[in-house]
């Protein structure tokens, strides 16, 4: 587990900053994915 963590986290910056950057990038990608959904304003899911 430690080996994997060492491999994932670069030595050039603190781990928390790297994790924060990754989280921000993922959150931005998710927001873009959700907002790109083309729903009709009159869609209706009856069942």
């Amino acid at each position: 587990m430690t080996g994997l963590r060492d491999w994932l986290v670069p030595a050039e910056m603190p781990a928390w900053r790297y994790a924060l950057r990754l989280t921000v990038v993922v959150a931005e990608l998710l927001a873009a994915y959700c907002l790109a959904g083309q729903n009709s304003p009159f869609f209706y899911q009856a069942f």
Binding site: A31, C34, N39
Partner: protein
């Protein structure tokens, strides 16, 4: 070659980090749905219905305010969801009540009573004073649909272990994808953002007076028919089965779904709406919309009892009139288990118009012709 591998390793490293962040974020979002399911509204309908209703209300207010229509007729508002929206033909109702009444169709779409209240909230903030308000609903609207819960039976909230056992990797990949929070709730996120933006736009247009520009456009005439979805006139056997199964997944056939503590929020929303309409002087009629015989056979008696209780408890002995139309339409008059077709619409419109005519006090001046009471 060594340099290439080093670079590839860096890319894999970042990709791995992003994957871990994605999974952690997904777990966090799924946890929020478990802890506070209501933080992001679960949408069964688009934002257009609410905007459409607001536009009708504001256009009607403008017509009364500018004197383009006189308050010589009683104002009747039709508040509801898809059941009433598909079932009421305003032209037929106007013909049935003659020149006594003017109908404003304010029915949207959704899966619970509080959605209906939210969609028509603009009515209670404005200057319209309806003489009669028809609230069209169904007893099962007391049960608010919840977003898919991870791991719940029959939903898309968890990867299918059965598919993996069967080595059906396509099905496994599909269920794994659907288990991701942002895939399952994508429509809710975009709907919430869209709703906020549209509200902001409408506020801006209202402030600048630009909402009056389209007054002469017939598509913005507030008295127009309500939106009807293009549904096939008769359901196939598969569509009926799908409808029945869809409601089953929402646990609408279980008597315990209608226990007081489970429906308390929706019951309060209904009571609040009735109270607010009465405070404006309206006679309130609660119409229970038609149901296909196969749906009626599955819904428990507890559902209707709960609805009656929800109206009796806050209002008895002045409980609003309950117009029970559940069995008013034969099965040939349905387009699916809970929406009527043209045949059913003709029947319901006549029944609603008759109820409205009875509710109008003979000789009484319409509320919109009287000076507005000071608050």
């Amino acid at each position: 070659m060594g340099d290439f591998l080093r670079r590839l390793g860096l890319v894999c490293r970042v990709a791995g980090g992003l994957l871990v962040a994605l999974l952690l974020l997904n777990l966090l979002l799924q946890a929020t749905t478990r802890i506070a399911p209501a933080w992001l509204p679960y949408r069964l309908a688009g934002t257009g219905f609410r905007q459409d209703i607001v536009q009708r209300i504001e256009a009607a207010e403008a017509q009364y305010r500018d004197g383009r229509i006189a308050g010589d007729r009683a104002l009747c508002v039709l508040i509801g969801l898809s059941g009433l929206r598909e079932a009421a033909d305003l032209k037929a109702m106007s013909a049935a009540t003659g020149s006594r009444c003017r109908y404003l169709g304010l029915s949207g779409a959704g899966g619970a009573i509080d959605t209906m209240v939210d969609q028509t909230s603009r009515l209670l903030q404005g200057s319209l004073r309806p003489d009669v308000a028809v609230i069209g609903l169904a007893e099962y609207l007391l049960v608010k649909p919840l977003p898919p819960q991870p791991g719940a039976q029959g939903d898309t909230g968890s990867p299918s272990p059965g598919a993996a056992r069967r080595r059906d990797w396509r099905q496994w990949a599909r269920s794994t994808r659907d288990a991701l929070w942002f895939v399952a709730r994508r429509r809710d996120v975009s709907g919430a953002v869209e709703s906020l933006l549209l509200d902001a736009k409408q506020t801006m247009l209202r402030t600048l007076g630009a909402d009056r520009a389209a007054e002469l456009n017939p598509t913005t005439d507030p008295w127009r028919e309500m939106i009807r979805l293009e549904l096939p006139p008769h359901p196939s056997e598969a569509a009926l089965r799908e409808g029945i199964a869809g409601y089953e997944a929402r646990r609408l056939y279980e008597p315990r779904s209608y226990e007081p503590q489970r429906i308390d929020e929706q019951a309060k929303a209904l009571a609040g709406l009735v109270t607010a309409l009465r405070q404006r002087g309206a006679v309130v009629i609660v119409a229970i919309m038609p149901e296909h015989s196969r749906l009626r056979a599955r819904l428990p008696d507890a559902a209707m009892q709960a609805l009656r209780r929800s109206l009796d408890a806050p209002f008895a002995p002045e409980t609003p009139r309950l117009l029970d139309l559940r069995d008013a339409v034969p099965d040939s008059g349905f387009t699916n288990i809970s929406h009527v077709n043209a045949e059913g619409r003709a029947i319901v419109s006549q029944r609603l118009a008759a109820a409205v005519a009875e509710a109008l006090a003979p000789g009484a001046a319409p509320l919109m012709s009287q000076p507005r009471p000071s608050r």
